[in-house]
Amino acid sequence: MSEAHVTMGAHTAAPMEAPPFAIPSKKLAMWLFVMADVMTFAACVAAYAFTRNATPDWPRPFHSVTAVAVMTVIMLTSGLTMLIALGAAKAGDKAGAFRWMMITAVAGIIFTLLHIRDWMGMIDQGVGLLHNPWGTAAFGASFYAITGFSLLHISIGTIALIIVAIRYQGGRYNADDIEIVSIFWQFVGLVWLFIVPVVYLMNQTPAAR
């Protein structure tokens, strides 16, 4: 996003070949970045899946996942508010776009705080990278590795949202830039939608039969 001051097509447009994908380069670059990032997460999940599958006594210790449910609702909703912001920006409603982006960013902040609270709760229960009350040490390590990576993305995404919103307000960015940050935001939301079943729900204590 640091390229915004580079005039994009604003100067006497050079005659060019039509781009095959017919999307702006910045958006293409964001998609490519997302594709690379998918592989980064895939590698982390592969490490977790490999270990978990091969561990016969893998624990399923989570009793209550209410907090996770709340976090999921917040994350999904923030995806929707992001899209509302994008729609407003495309329709030229600057104030609305800014407002909805800020709402999205606030959702991101609340999510981050809840996530940290969740972590604190785990740490209180004695779940560390090396030890946990329930058995194999790999449980804690892969839990923190995957959720930590995701948390990192979400906090970076929140900061990006705020920066883009402010610059959009100041006139340096336009609806296209909001669309790009939206793609990233939806992607981190999607990652969370994978983390919920794979990391939380599959480690949920099954109801007694």
Partner: protein
């Protein structure tokens, strides 16, 4: 909400509700007494449906040119598929551990 904001939001709200419902189903499954392969299959099936919804609508891939959609989808499916070579070793390790021979 102004009219401009409401423009085209209906579709997104529908997808949003679908996503909420699917996630809720996942939570229900999580609480039931389902284990092993069954659990994985169900969770992943729902997660994949969610992926489709998010990627097509929230990330708006659905409204891009078909050639771009193909580029992204085939590229990703292919590299993700090649990651699955890990399973042979994971299951073999499990076998070792269950039979208490070989490396642990």
């Amino acid at each position: 909400m102004t009219t401009a904001e409401r423009h085209g939001i209906g579709k997104y709200v529908a997808v949003y509700i679908c996503l909420l419902v699917i996630t809720a189903l996942q939570f229900v499954i999580g609480y039931q007494n389902i284990q092993g392969t069954q659990l994985v299959v169900r969770m992943l099936t729902f997660a994949i449906i969610e992926t489709l919804l998010v990627v097509l609508f929230f990330m708006n891939l659905g409204s891009e040119k078909p050639v771009f959609v193909k580029f992204v989808v085939y590229f990703m499916l292919f590299v993700l598929a090649t990651m699955n070579y890990i399973w042979t070793d994971s299951f073999r390790l499990l076998l070792f551990r269950l039979t208490k021979v070989g490396p642990s």
